[in-house]
Amino acid sequence: MALCGDMYIYLPIAEVSVNAFVLLGLGGLVGVLSGMFGVGGGFLMTPLLFFIGIPPAVAVATEANQIVASSFSGVLAHVKRRNVDFKMGGVLLIGGLIGAGVGVFIFNYLKDLGQVDLLVKLCYVVFLGIVGSLMFTESLRALRKSKHALPSKSRKKRTWVHALPLKVRFRVSGLYISAIPPVLIGILVGILAAIMGVGGGFVMVPAMIYLLGMPTKVVVGTSLFQIIFVTAFTTMLHATTNYTVDMVLAVLLLVGGVIGAQFGTMLGAKLKAEQLRILLAIMVLLVCAKLGFDLIVQPSELFNLGVAGGH
């Protein structure tokens, strides 16, 4: 870092000046995780952008744009290995687009009320907490079991998901289930994508595994495929309704991000699915704990400033 020195770049939309190398580094780090776990990495990047002083509204909108790049980069490798269930991705996408529209609407409404930061942080704490602890306990159990048996084959549990109407056959996933749960998952993920500036992979990946019973092999590629379109749509909504997409910030993040994602995909191929999941679970829980702690502890400055009035 000392070699690189400081190179400050002024961001035209955020209207702050930041060290370009910090952004490239953050992008790279989060990119590795994105490639490894098949998550966009937004759940880590967006809070990190808050910490370095990017206005929350700009961070959320720009992060959506960056996730398009890292997901696109990641999905190409999965398409080649035929690990993408396009049909399932398409069904999830229908829900995702509806959800993104709803999410941007809620976001803009709460921005006017001055409660958007709180909403974003609460969403983080709640969702990261639930998903993290579920994944952690499940993968811990699986890890213990896999010491004796081979890594789990496609588990075909019969749940309420199989009792719903509108059944569709998803050949790549080897499933014959109702289209309703995937659409609902898509809507939820779309709302989260717009409000939290995330791809939603950290919700979608466990939902696909545990609720839909999809094989782990195709989950990552399929979620990346869906995320590309939902975040692209979110980017357009933010760009046209509140002008908060910062292209310079996005480019710096995505240059680091796409390179990191390639390394991440290579790393991910070497680890076992259970190990991968337990690592992701630990990370999710750490971010959750940090954000929750900040909400409970009395802040050193009780007052904060915002741009007055709605535009």
Partner: protein
């Protein structure tokens, strides 16, 4: 350094001319600040000379106050309180007009140079400059909110009080430098110079400094606001291309 300032003052005085107010001649190291892609703050040198008109003006010491202010915009100040165990914004106050940047430099400590009356009349300190207050009437102590505004911006380096930062030589030549932070908002900034004696303003002068985004910064900002659809699509195209390029490069590298 001081000699350099004096030299700059003398050489520049020759072409500044006498267009300014009667007894202050003023120069700025720059009248325009361009925010480029690599902008990381800027130093501005304010200098000039005082002309003594009559005998009486030599009574008592003169002081000089220099202020630099960004355009004033409305700001919402919100206060957090504990609700259901977490800290949330509970009430807010709209401050009608507050500069996003304000620096005031003086020859001696502010209180010794500017009387309360002159401060009130000429709005020299930032607290006088901020115009409150159209909050909900129910709000208890609006002063807490304006104080918080000043405190937050002071700690961000956006409001600066530079006591003793103005040098005044032989009661005639003055100079000071103000460093503008990297997170500058564009607009027409105002530099004011007050000539003070015994706390009263005896003369003042003001001039404008243009702070503008230039080059690619200007272009992107305009595109984002005037043609948001094109801007959004361009952002996506860059993202897709970068994603594809990285994947293609790595495929080649791996053989």
């Amino acid at each position: 350094m001081r000699n350099l300032y004096a030299f700059v003052v003398i050489t520049m005085l020759s072409w500044i001319g006498h267009a300014s107010a009667q007894d202050i001649v003023l120069g700025l190291s720059k009248q325009e600040i361009g925010i480029t892609a690599f902008f990381d703050g800027s130093e501005i040198l304010v200098f000039g000379a005082l002309k003594h008109q009559s005998e009486e003006s030599s009574e008592g010491d003169l002081d000089v106050v220099v202020t630099i202010a960004s355009p004033r915009t409305p700001v919402t100040v919100r206060r957090k309180d504990k609700r259901f165990g977490i800290w949330v914004n509970v009430d807010a106050l709209e401050v009608d007009l507050a500069p996003s940047f304000y620096a005031v430099a003086t020859t001696r400590p502010f209180e010794q140079v500017v009387s309360n009356a002159s401060d009130l009349w000429h709005q020299i300190s930032v607290r006088q400059l901020i115009r409150a207050v159209s909050g909900p009437l129910a709000i208890e102590n609006p002063e807490d909110f304006t104080e918080a505004l000043v405190r937050v911006r002071e700690s961000d380096g956006l409001y600066q009080t530079l006591s003793g930062a103005v040098t005044l030589q032989d009661q005639t030549l003055f100079s000071t430098s103000v460093s503008l932070p990297a997170n500058l908002v564009e607009g027409t900034y105002t530099a004011r110079i007050f000539l003070m004696r015994d706390g009263d303003v005896i003369s003042q002068h003001q001039t404008a400094i243009d702070v503008r985004k230039v080059g690619i910064e200007r272009w992107l900002y305009n595109l984002a606001h005037q043609r948001p659809v094109v801007y959004g699509l361009l952002s996506l195209a860059i993202a897709i291309f970068a994603g594809w390029a990285a994947a293609a490069v790595f495929r080649m590298v791996r053989g």
